[in-house]
C-alpha cells in the first residue's frame, strides 16, 4: 500500500498529486478494529450508581448541558461533515454522482458553522472548558485504569467535558482545520462563484501537498466519525448523546459522572452551566457563571 499518489508533471518532475485512496479502507479498518476491540475490552457499565445525597441537594432534576446554539452548531456541523464525507468518498469507492458542487457548498456551510462555533465559544461559552489541564490528564489515567478493570481503580468524575471528549474535540479540530484550509485553497482549482479560478496559484508540488493534506484530513475524519458514532451509541454514554439532542442531563447522571467542583451548576436551580476546570494553572481558577440559560 502506498501513502501518496504521485505523477510526473508536464516537465517530467515527480510530484505528489494526492493521498492514496487505499487509506480510505485503512481508516475504515482501523476504525472497525478500534470499535470491536473497545467493545470487547471495555465492559458496558451504566453509571457508578454512587450518588451523594448531599451533593444532590438543591440541584434541579434537569441540568442543561448544551445550549440551543451549541446543539445547533453540533448538528449542522455534523450534517455538513456527513455530506462532505459522502460526497468525497462515495465516488471514490464506486458510488458515482455529481459530487463536486455539493461538496464545496457543504464545505462552505461547514466553514460557516465553524465560524459560528468560534464566535460562540468566545462570546457565549468559556473557551477554557475544552482545555486539557493537569487534572484532565489525571482523570484520563484513572479512567483508563478503570476502563481496563484494574483492581481498585475507579472512574473519576469529570468536569463538564470528560477528557476523552476533549481529546476527540481537539483531534476533530485539527483535521477539520486541515481540511478546511486546504479545501478553501482547492476551490481556486474549481469553477465556483466565490473564488476566481487559478490553477497555478502554487507550484504543482505545493498543490500536491495541499491535496495530500486534504485527503489525509478527510480520511482522518472517517476514523474520527466512526469512533464518535460508536461512543455516541454505547449504552453508558447515551445520556450524553441525548443531551446533545434535548440539551439537558438529569441530576443523577450529573452527580454520577461530573465533579460538581469542576462543573459548578448554578444555585438558582435553573439548568446552568458553570465551568471551572482549567485544571492546574491553565484556567481562571474561578468558576464562572457563563450561561444565561
Amino acid at each position: 500500500m502506498e501513502f501518496l499518489r504521485r505523477a510526473l508533471n508536464p516537465w517530467g518532475q515527480d510530484v505528489p498529486i494526492g493521498v492514496s485512496w487505499d487509506l480510505i479502507w485503512a481508516a475504515v479498518i482501523i476504525g472497525a478494529v478500534f470499535v470491536v476491540g473497545h467493545a470487547l475490552m471495555v465492559p458496558k457499565k451504566v453509571g457508578t450508581g454512587e450518588i451523594d445525597p448531599d451533593e444532590a441537594r438543591g440541584l434541579p432534576e434537569k441540568l442543561q448541558r448544551h445550549t440551543v446554539g451549541a446543539r445547533g452548531f453540533h448538528w449542522s456541523m455534523s450534517a455538513a461533515m456527513f455530506v462532505l464525507l459522502i460526497t468525497a468518498f462515495f465516488p471514490v469507492v464506486g458510488i458515482q454522482f455529481p459530487w463536486v458542487t455539493i461538496h464545496w457548498i457543504a464545505g462552505v456551510l461547514l466553514i460557516l458553522t465553524v465560524l459560528y462555533h468560534i464566535y460562540h465559544v468566545f462570546a457565549k461559552q468559556d473557551f477554557w472548558a475544552m482545555w486539557i489541564g493537569r487534572r484532565d490528564i489525571e482523570e484520563g489515567k484513572q479512567g483508563l485504569k478503570a476502563a481496563l478493570g484494574r483492581p481498585g481503580a475507579k472512574r473519576p468524575r469529570a468536569a463538564k467535558y470528560p477528557v476523552d471528549q476533549k481529546m476527540f474535540h481537539h483531534a476533530a479540530t485539527i483535521v477539520t482545520i486541515g481540511a478546511v484550509v486546504t479545501g478553501v485553497l482547492m476551490m481556486f482549482r474549481i469553477d465556483n462563484f466565490l473564488l476566481p479560478q487559478n490553477m497555478y496559484l502554487f507550484s504543482d508540488s505545493v498543490w500536491g501537498w495541499i491535496y495530500v493534506i486534504h485527503g489525509v484530513c478527510g480520511i482522518g475524519l472517517i476514523f474520527l466519525v466512526i469512533a464518535h458514532v460508536y461512543f455516541a451509541i454505547r449504552p453508558e454514554k447515551r445520556w450524553m448523546t441525548w443531551s446533545m439532542i434535548n440539551g439537558w442531563i438529569d441530576r443523577d447522571r450529573y452527580l454520577e459522572n461530573h465533579d460538581p467542583e469542576r462543573w459548578v451548576v448554578g444555585e438558582r436551580g435553573a439548568v446552568g452551566e458553570l465551568e471551572g476546570s482549567g485544571g492546574g494553572g491553565g484556567g481562571t481558577g474561578q468558576p464562572a457563571l457563563s450561561d444565561k440559560a
Binding site: R5, P10, W99, D191, M199, Y200, G208
Partner: protein, 333 residues
C-alpha cells in the same frame, strides 16, 4: 525517470474468438487489460506509453461483433466491430438511417474508416491535447485541468457540461446515434444490459476518468436502431479545420419530423461542445409546433446555447453551435 514516446511497449496479446471469451478475459485482467477494436485510439495511447496495459484483448477475431442486420420489427442491429466504412456504405444504413451513414462517412480518412469501428468511434477517449500529452490532469487521475486556465490553449474545448475537466467528446457517430434514439447493448460477465444512446455518455461531474457508462469488464457489443422514422428530415454537419483526418470543432446531428409545414418532433444533438454529446432538448421544444423557418431556427439556436460559457479561446463555439442548430431546423423546411 525520463519520458519516452512513439514506441509501443510490450504487452501480452489475447485474441478471443467470441464475446464470452472476450468478456472473461476482460474480467480476468481487470484494469490491467485493454480492449482493442480498430486501434485508432488505442495505438496513440500505446505509442506514447501513457496507457500501458499488461494484456491487450483484440476483438478483431470476434465475428459475432461484426455486421449489420435488420430485425423482424424493422429495427437495425450493428455489431460494435463493424467498420465505419461498412456503416457508411451499407445499403440498409443508407436507406433507413442516412444520418448515421453521413456521420460515419465523415470520420477522419478512408483508411481510418476502413480500420476504425463503430463501437470504437462511439467510446473513444477525448482528444484534449493536455490529457493526450500524458499530463497528470483530472482525467488522468490528477488534480488539475491544464486546459481551463486563462492562458490555456482551449480552442477545441467545451462550452457546456464542464466539471473541473473541460475536454469534449470527439465522436462523429455518437450524436447521430442519439438523434436516432439508438440503444447500446453492453455485455459483461453479469449478462447483457441496454442503454439508450443518450444515457450512455457521462460527464466529468459523474466520473472524470470515463466518457461512457462502460466500466472495466463491460463490452459494447451492438448498437440497435429503432425502425426508421418515416419522412423525417435529417441533418448532419461537422465543422473542422481541414476536410480529412480531423475531429469536429462542433458537429450537429438532427432528425426533424415536419407535417403540414409544422415541426412535429425533433431530436437535435450537438457534439464537440461538452464532455458528452448534448441533446438540445430546450431547442427541440422551442421548435416543435413551429414552421421550420430561419426565425424558428434562430430562436432555437439561441436557446440551445443559453447558459454556455466560453473559455479563453473558444467563444466562437457559442456562435457556431447556435448557427448549426439554426440550420438543422431551417433546412428541415
Amino acid at each position: 525517470m525520463a519520458v519516452m514516446r512513439d514506441m509501443i511497449p510490450p504487452f501480452e496479446l489475447f485474441q478471443p474468438a467470441g464475446v464470452d471469451d472476450a468478456v472473461r478475459l476482460m474480467r480476468e485482467h481487470g484494469d490491467k487489460g485493454w480492449v482493442l477494436a480498430g486501434g485508432l485510439d488505442t495505438f496513440d495511447w500505446f505509442k506514447d506509453r501513457i496507457k500501458r496495459p499488461e494484456a491487450v484483448i483484440d476483438l478483431g477475431g470476434v465475428d459475432e461483433l461484426k455486421g449489420i442486420a435488420v430485425g423482424d420489427d424493422g429495427e437495425l442491429e450493428i455489431g460494435a466491430m463493424t467498420s465505419l466504412t461498412e456503416v457508411a456504405e451499407n445499403g440498409d444504413v443508407r436507406s433507413g438511417y442516412p444520418l448515421l451513414a453521413e456521420a460515419a462517412g465523415l470520420v477522419a480518412t478512408p483508411q481510418i474508416r476502413n480500420q476504425g469501428t463503430l463501437g470504437g468511434n462511439i467510446i473513444q477517449d477525448t482528444r484534449c491535447w493536455y490529457y493526450r500529452s500524458g499530463w497528470p490532469c483530472y482525467r488522468a487521475g490528477g488534480n488539475i485541468c491544464y486546459a481551463a486556465t486563462p492562458r490555456s490553449m482551449n480552442r477545441e474545448h467545451c462550452i457546456v457540461g464542464a466539471s473541473r475537466c473541460v475536454a469534449v467528446n470527439p465522436s462523429d457517430t455518437a450524436p447521430a446515434l442519439i438523434a436516432l434514439d439508438a440503444e447500446m447493448v453492453v455485455a459483461s460477465t453479469g449478462g447483457e444490459r441496454t442503454y439508450p444512446a443518450e444515457d450512455f455518455f457521462i460527464g466529468p461531474d459523474i466520473d472524470i476518468e470515463r466518457m461512457t457508462v462502460l466500466e472495466p469488464g463491460d463490452l459494447l457489443t451492438r448498437i440497435r436502431l429503432p425502425a426508421p422514422w418515416s419522412g423525417a428530415r435529417w441533418y448532419f454537419e461537422k465543422i473542422r479545420d481541414r476536410k480529412a483526418w480531423d475531429f469536429s470543432l462542433v458537429s450537429v446531428a438532427s432528425m426533424v419530423n415536419v407535417e403540414g409545414g409544422v415541426i412535429r418532433d425533433a431530436r437535435i444533438v450537438v457534439n464537440g461542445i461538452a464532455p458528452y454529446p448534448v441533446r438540445a432538448t430546450a431547442a427541440e421544444r422551442a421548435a416543435t409546433g413551429q414552421a421550420p423557418s430561419d426565425e424558428t431556427g434562430q430562436a432555437a439556436g439561441e436557446i440551445a446555447v443559453r447558459g454556455a460559457r466560453a473559455l479563453r479561446h473558444n467563444d466562437y463555439k457559442i456562435a457556431l453551435t447556435r448557427n448549426l442548430v439554426k440550420r438543422a431546423i431551417r433546412d428541415a423546411a
